[in-house]
């Protein structure tokens, strides 16, 4: 089966997941993002690449930060951006996802940025577009269920490369609720593709999926051993709203076992960086002293995220 993200010529036409993205494509996105980083420092923070194109943000699930950074990225590329508040529109009147898409295509949409609580929704749209012969319309997955959040994964890779350069020598620890985290999944696939030296998943048994070892990940249930000598620490948000049933005793208990405190951070390399996709639960997965400390690169991640999304959108629009 053809990789649904690539067109007949093997070029990236949709961004649905970091799973199955060739290393060269990831590297091209990161290199292009490097050039876009500088655009945001100019007097005129805009380039004309997507002039005349319409980008539709369709968010079936709330997210202020991701939606805003996609909007900024599209506007810095000179695209017209239309934000659809789907939770309050036709879908609530019973329209199906693909009917919504057909209507937006009829309005001459060039790109969809889609967030959906169901895993696979962006794939459904991409396949539908291919079926109706609209290869000129592109889909970016902005997070689907527990499955993938590829632009977050790519901006995390950009951040790591920015501070640490060579992936082959790095020990990267992903800590927390990996089971429910599409960010963790996207990070791990991208880390594998980029040839990361050692990838660790750290968390309680109940929050780790079972197939991690098959992805080349070392599992640690103990935070101290998981952080030992690490170069990069990616903290995940404890996803309260996704937690069904009693996977954890309490947030306080979680912090005592898996919260990143200054003492725990001291076990990693002295120049280790601390990342977090946001929004943070201070005092649950991360202590404020660490979140605001000199090793945290959480706000640079947000800045890099705009450049990475500009790179993704401009590469897709050109293919």
């Amino acid at each position: 089966m053809r990789n649904p993200q690539l067109n007949a010529a093997g070029e990236l036409t949709h961004l649905l997941s970091t799973d199955g993205l060739p290393r060269e494509v990831i590297t091209q996105i990161l290199d292009t993002a490097q050039s876009f980083l500088e655009v945001s420092n100019r007097d005129v923070k805009k380039v004309p690449l997507l002039r005349g194109k319409s980008v539709f943000n369709i968010f079936f699930e709330n997210s202020t930060r991701t939606r805003t950074t996609f909007e900024i990225a599209a506007k810095r590329l000179s695209a017209d951006v239309i934000n659809l508040d789907v939770t309050r529109s036709s879908t609530s009147k019973g329209e199906t996802l693909l009917d919504t898409v057909d209507n937006l295509v009829a309005m001459h949409a060039d790109m969809f940025v889609v967030r959906h609580a169901s895993s696979g929704a962006p794939y459904l749209i991409a396949e539908h577009l291919q079926r109706i012969g609209r290869d000129d319309v592109h889909v970016v997955n902005a997070g689907d269920g527990r499955h993938a959040h590829p632009t977050q994964g790519l901006l995390d890779m950009f951040t790591i490369r920015h501070y640490k350069q060579d992936f082959s020598k790095l020990k990267v620890a992903v800590v927390g609720d990996i089971l429910h985290s599409r960010v963790a999944r996207s990070d791990i696939h991208a880390l594998v593709a980029l040839g990361t030296g050692e990838i660790r998943a750290v968390g309680p048994q109940t929050l780790l999926p079972s197939a991690l070892e098959q992805m080349g990940v070392r599992v640690h249930h103990d935070l101290a051993s998981g952080l030992a000598d690490a170069d990069v620490i990616i903290m995940l948000r404890l996803q309260n709203e996704r937690m069904n049933g009693a996977l954890l005793p309490s947030a306080r208990e979680y912090f005592r076992c898996y919260g990143l405190t200054p003492a725990m951070l001291a076990l990693a390399k002295p120049d280790a960086i601390v990342m977090h996709p946001g929004p943070m639960n201070r005092g649950v997965e991360i202590a404020s002293e660490v979140a605001d400390g000199p090793q945290a690169v959480i706000l640079p991640q947000v800045t890099f995220g705009i450049a990475v999304r500009m790179a993704v959108m401009s590469i897709l629009a050109g293919n």
């Binding site: 490097q34 050039s35 876009f36 500088e38 005129v44 805009k46 380039v47 590469i315």
Partner: protein, 168 residues
């Protein structure tokens, strides 16, 4: 028509510097267009003894053929390490052809501010213009067929030399 022997690009750089020198203002800055123009601009900076670093532009985000060709797979960052506002700038490229690259570079420069003036300096003008753009400083005029490509290359020691490619 293929010339029997291509001229010495290094000698042309010296010639170009001599053409520019009488017109330099105290605050003139050079901007090289990736990648050939950047090499020439670096050379000109040495030859002219300018203290200011050169600026570099990659016009990939401003090209008018993005719709047909997509994004160039290797975009390099534009870096303009000085304020362009009110300043005389010399845009440097290796070859002037259709003028579309020059147009894109001028557009990009205006996103950094309003330069006092912009001149264009090139080693070679191969004709074939599609826009009303001319170089103020130019060392070599040559007529080439559409399927011929004049390429400036930099060898391991950084020496610049011309090569003439024939499209298949």
């Amino acid at each position: 028509m293929l010339p029997a022997e291509l001229p010495d690009a290094e000698a042309q750089c010296a010639e170009l510097a001599a053409l520019i020198r009488p017109h330099l203002a105290p605050d003139t800055a050079l901007i090289g267009i990736h990648s050939g123009g950047a090499w020439v601009a670096r050379r000109l900076r040495e030859l002219l003894g300018l203290e200011e670093e050169i600026g570099l532009v990659d016009v990939s985000f401003y090209r008018d053929d993005f719709g047909e060709k997509g994004l160039h797979p290797q975009v390099r960052p534009t870096s303009i390490p000085f304020a362009v506002e009110g300043r005389p700038l010399i845009l440097v490229d290796d070859v002037l052809y259709t003028g579309r690259t020059t147009r894109a570079a001028i557009n990009e420069l205006f996103d950094y501010g309003r330069p006092g003036r912009i001149d264009l300096a090139v080693l070679a003008d191969r004709g074939g213009r599609e826009l009303p753009i001319e170089a103020r400083f130019c060392t070599w005029r040559i007529d080439l067929a559409d399927d011929e490509e004049l390429v400036l290359a930099s060898d391991a020691d950084g020496r610049l030399a011309w090569r003439l490619d024939q499209d298949a």
